[in-house]
């Protein structure tokens, strides 16, 4: 094992034989998919106040993933969605597969014993979340990036005493792979390196790191994530669909705001999803309290003790976050600024009281200079 690690470190260093990390920014500043005078969408934490005006829940949607949550009928199975039996089959498949896409328990132990640096991981995850917000990537893209990063570090510790560039290179490669897996429009490798990246790596260096990551992960990028379960669990909890949009949106924010916390590595995606939905449900006023025990019946394989543990951890972190920074109050919603947010964006967000809508975002994305983006979803010929 020691020999393999040594060879691995040589491989990593050889990435830089011909291209050392540059401390300069790219000559051409990356383009944001929205006008200069507007701030990017903010990963915000929303709690509803005591009423929903006119039953319009659209104000509860998070900037990154509002598309598609509320634009169909509130029932849990819309006309263009799969029928419930198929959903249950897919969920069973996700439950069966999820164990293959989580780092082992010893990985978490290495953070607890300080043989791995939790603060360095936290910094990397914070950067991934900033870029996710900057480009309005889907939440699952950020989650997958972190999943790849953790699974890589679980298999291959990075060389120490390197000023942090290997971890940043790994973060860029993981984010690039996740974006290519999930996004229809992917920024160029240079443009991905925004939001306070200390080093800027050449595309060929990132490409070589991508191949290294793919080798270590055995090309298993199609991870099961908490987002695979959210809609299904939300419908289990709220079969009328009245609050489904809010539950999914809020649970998404909870998952993303907790992703930096290494302690969550103790829980599998289905468990994190169940705990996040429960947490979101208990923020809805006048709803009877939903207990973690209720979630065990949602599908085969959920364990009450695990859900309780995960739920309690989420509660602790919410309290912890609230103590760090008092929540700002807006009409109709309470916005708790969670750690991944770029502070400079907050004031402009509060002034406009909403992030750019997903539809306007997608329009702006289309206006981007095509040379900067890879649009990989075009049809092919017969």
């Amino acid at each position: 094992m020691k020999e393999a690690t040594c060879i691995f470190h040589q491989q990593l260093h050889s990435l830089f034989l011909h291209s050392s990390p540059q401390l300069t920014l790219p000559a051409k500043p990356p383009r944001k998919p929205w006008p200069e005078n507007e701030s990017p969408p903010i990963a915000m934490s929303v709690s509803c106040s005591n009423c929903f005006p006119d039953d319009d829940h659209s104000f509860l949607l998070c900037g990154e993933d509002s598309s598609g949550i509320m634009d169909s009928s509130p029932e849990c199975s819309s006309d263009l969605d799969s029928s419930p039996p198929s959903e249950a089959e897919s969920i069973a498949g996700f439950m069966e597969d999820e164990r293959n896409f989580v780092p082992g328990f010893e990985y978490l132990n290495r953070f607890q014993s300080r043989s791995l640096d939790a603060s360095a991981r936290e910094e990397s995850v914070a950067w991934i979340l900033k870029v996710q917000a900057y480009y309005a990537f889907q939440p699952v893209t950020a989650y997958l990036s972190v999943n790849y990063l953790d699974r890589f570090l679980n298999s291959r510790p990075l060389p120490p005493k390197t000023n942090g560039w290997p971890l940043q290179l790994l973060s860029v490669a993981c984010l690039s792979l996740a974006a290519k897996m999930e996004e229809s429009l992917v920024p160029s490798l240079l443009d991905l390196q925004v939001e306070g990246a200390k080093y800027v790596f050449e595309p060929k260096t990132i490409r070589r790191m991508e191949l290294l990551v793919l080798g270590v992960l055995d090309w298993r990028l199609r991870s099961v994530t908490p987002f695979s379960f959210l809609d299904f669990f939300a419908c289990k909890l709220d079969s009328t669909g009245t609050f489904t949009g809010f539950l999914i949106s809020r649970a998404t924010q909870i998952i993303l705001s907790n992703i930096q916390e290494a302690s969550f590595l103790a829980y599998w995606p289905s468990c994190i999803a169940a705990a996040a939905i429960l947490h979101a449900a208990n923020e809805i006023p006048n709803w009877s309290l939903v207990r973690p025990e209720h979630a065990e019946s949602w599908c085969e394989g959920l364990r009450k003790e695990k859900i309780i543990g995960c739920y309690q951890l989420m509660q602790e972190l919410v309290i912890d976050n609230n103590q760090r920074k008092p929540p700002k109050v807006l009409p109709q919603l309470r916005v708790t600024i969670s750690r991944p947010i770029m502070r400079s964006s907050v004031s402009s967000f509060l002034a406009s009281s909403s992030s750019p809508s997903s539809s306007s975002l997608s329009c702006r994305r289309r206006k981007l200079n095509n040379s900067l983006w890879v649009d990989d979803d075009k049809g092919n010929s017969q």
Partner: protein, 317 residues
């Protein structure tokens, strides 16, 4: 040959050292496909070559999706087996990836064409066996959260000797959450494209694959594409002529789809006029695969349980 671990400290042969290329058998978006022999075992394989442009955007998204999905699905007998991924360099010293697949000697498009050329019908039991295998493979994909999105005869590989069918070419496949969220609608070869996709729906589901399966079913019987449009509009009109122009009654929500317009009004015809030679049970299954309303379309798993397959010996499939 199991898929190699390409991580640190593992000595692996390059593709050039490990394989002898025999002939080019096809060309895809990112590179060529070769029939090749594995030198160590003499086994015949298919090598799918993917170029990585040195200063561009790393591993192409379609390659990432295809390989990662196959890493999950390849254990199913009705999904083509990805045996290995090898890294090599071409003559100019550029990095090349080789995906090593089990070799299949034909595909369903060629298989159908061979019957069309000889004027013979494909035996009904052969059609039944191929359809069952296709439903089984798709049920496995859907059960693991994968939409294929580009099912067509060309992407269904076959072994003529054993009559085994395997789903291939998952470069356009996508993982989905439940229910399915927004996807681009510019996917899928026109002839096998579901009406909700043609009408601009971006929320779509496993049902898009089932529509394609239905079109393939009809094509196996008639040896002609069921709906052979040469534009999105023509494709829709072909569908409407046979199945009737949809409305809110038969398909609630259809008129709210992005690309819905006022179309000529046709009444539905009997499927037997378009697919003569298919028995009653087959027509019933086909009609459930070609339901307009996606949520009413039969699932792959339910299709496998349909009475049409009752007299099929499923033991070896």
């Amino acid at each position: 040959m199991e898929m190699e671990k390409t991580g640190a400290g593992v000595a692996v042969l390059s593709a050039k050292e490990a394989f002898e290329k025999l002939e080019k058998v096809g060309e895809g978006t990112y590179g060529k496909v070769y029939r090749a022999r594995e030198k160590a075992t003499g086994k015949i394989v298919a090598l799918k070559k993917t170029r990585l442009h040195e200063d561009q955007e790393g591993v192409p998204p379609t390659t990432l999706r295809e390989v990662s999905i196959l890493r999950m699905l390849s254990r199913d007998p009705h999904v083509v087996r990805l045996m290995d991924v090898k890294q090599g360099q071409n003559k100019e010293g550029k990095t090349v990836l080789y995906l090593v697949f089990e070799y299949m000697d034909t595909d369903l498009k060629k298989f159908i064409r061979s019957f069309r050329q000889t004027g013979q019908s494909i035996p009904p039991q052969t059609i039944k066996s191929l359809m069952y295998q296709l439903c089984k493979g798709i049920a496995f994909c859907h059960g693991h959260g994968i939409l294929h999105r580009d099912l067509k005869p060309h992407n269904l590989l076959m072994d003529r000797k054993t009559m085994m069918l395997k789903i291939a070419d998952l470069g356009l496949a996508r993982a989905f959450t439940v229910p399915i969220k927004k996807y681009t609608h510019e996917i899928l070869t026109l002839w096998y494209r579901a009406p909700e996709v043609l009408l601009g729906a971006t929320h779509y589901s496993m049902a898009v694959d089932i529509w394609s399966v239905g079109c393939i079913f009809a094509e196996l019987v008639t040896k002609q594409a069921l709906f052979a449009g040469d534009s999105e509009l023509q494709q829709l009109l072909h569908i409407f002529r046979l199945l009737g122009t949809p409305n809110e009654e038969v398909w609630p929500g259809v008129s709210k789809l992005k690309d819905w317009h006022e179309y000529p009004q046709w009444n539905p015809k009997s499927l037997s006029t378009a697919v003569p030679g298919l028995d009653e049970l087959g027509l019933d299954l086909l009609s459930q695969m070609l339901e307009y309303e996606p949520s009413k379309r039969i699932s792959a798993k339910k299709a496998m349980e349909h009475a049409y397959f009752n007299d099929l010996d499923k033991g070896h499939l």
